[in-house]
């Protein structure tokens, strides 16, 4: 048992080291993939609403995807991954206005969890309102911290 937990520990440490050592361009790519995941889940939800016959189960599943990223955004922005690294669109202001960025990420986190709670409740009108609010936090952060391509 002890041996296993040591092995797990060593493995975790190894992963942590690998993560630390990840090339900045890989970090940028992984980050973009995560954001695309979020955007895809939001779009699937929005599409379902716009179809006129929203699918509560589909919306619930996609809300869970978005919520799974709720608290992760700040960890995707290590120093040295700003515009100029790979296809990064992260403005340097992310690292100079740390409080502002943390607040924007926090707003997203709260809205993402609210969105999931609404979707779980099955109340589509509340879910729709929560989605609109969540979308506002995406745009709010992007307007300040993302470089327009």
């Amino acid at each position: 048992m002890r041996k296993i937990s040591m092995m797990v520990g060593a493995l975790a440490l190894g992963i942590a080291v690998v993560a630390q050592a990840a090339a900045p361009t890989d970090t940028v790519e992984a980050r973009k993939k995560n954001f695309k995941d979020i955007a895809g889940a939001l779009k699937a939800t929005n599409n379902s609403f716009k179809s006129g016959t929203p699918d509560a189960a589909l919306i619930k599943a996609n809300a869970a995807i978005v919520a799974s990223y709720a608290d992760k955004i700040p960890s995707w922005f290590p120093a040295g991954t700003a515009v100029g690294v790979g296809k990064s669109e992260a403005k340097p202001v992310i690292w100079t206005d740390k409080a502002g960025f943390a607040k924007a990420a926090g707003d997203f986190s709260v809205a993402a969890k609210g969105f999931k709670a609404a979707a779980d409740s099955g109340d589509l009108a509340a879910t729709s309102a929560a989605l609109a609010k969540l979308g506002g936090t995406c745009k709010g952060c992007h307007d300040t911290f993302r470089q327009k391509d």
Partner: protein, 236 residues
């Protein structure tokens, strides 16, 4: 020596001219609204462009003689013959689009149609503005079509440059000014060319109705009868 008698004909009908100058206004407006970030207006103007391009395609089957694709789209043999003689097979000047220019017409109209079609599915990065059919597709495909929509504009620019180059070439090298006829509809020829046949009004009504129906359908997100307003105003 008296100058030879001129034959003046009605070359381009009013719908063809309105379509032409409509694109001259709308295509730069599409670019300007995109650059200014006014995507809601961009989408509205795009639907106006959809209407006139759809009309022009319908008019290419229903319209007056010089408007019809069947009257001016020719094979490579006719193009080669035109390049050699600068005239039609009967030895008279070509009335309407010549066989080479036909390619430019098809290219421009076809490219505009593809570009408008892509725009119906496109969306900006945060989906704050989306084409009316964007909700049909997932975000990965929407991203791809949006990128193609951006590439499409560069291809249009290229064809417009060729189009303008050809107009200048005809004016300078062949002393044939093409623009006045596209304004007035009339053109004078040194040779006894025949007056092209015009189209009856009911065909105009039919082409307008077809283009209007398509535009209405697209603008309503792919519905001829708009669905009741959704209780979910979920655009994020």
């Amino acid at each position: 020596m008296t100058s030879p008698a001129k034959t003046i004909i009605r070359l381009w009908d009013l719908p063809v001219r309105l379509f032409h100058w409509g694109t001259v206004l709308l295509v730069p407006a599409m670019w300007a609204t995109y650059k200014a970030g006014k995507l809601d207006l961009h989408i509205k103007l795009g639907l106006a462009l959809l209407f006139i391009v759809a009309f022009r395609i319908a008019w290419g089957f229903l319209g007056s003689q010089t408007a019809r694709f069947a009257s001016f789209v020719k094979g490579p043999g006719a193009i080669a013959a035109y390049l050699r003689s600068g005239r039609g097979p009967d030895g008279l000047p070509v009335v309407g689009h010549n066989p080479l220019g036909a390619l430019s017409v098809l290219g421009l109209i076809g490219l505009l149609a593809v570009q408008i079609g892509l725009g119906l599915f496109a969306s900006d990065t945060d989906a704050t503005a989306s084409g009316p059919l964007n909700y049909w597709i997932g975000s990965a495909l929407a991203d791809t079509l949006t990128e193609l929509h951006e590439v499409g504009f560069n291809l249009i620019l290229l064809l417009v440059a060729v189009h303008l180059g050809a107009i200048i070439y005809y004016a300078v090298a062949k002393k044939d000014r093409l623009v006045p006829a596209m304004v007035t509809g009339k053109k004078a020829y040194d040779a006894p060319v025949a007056q092209p046949k015009s189209a009856p009004l009911w065909r105009l009504a039919l082409a307008l109705a077809l283009a209007g129906a398509l535009t209405w359908w697209a603008a309503n997100g792919g519905h001829f009868v708009p669905p009741p307003p959704s209780p979910y105003d979920a655009s994020y």
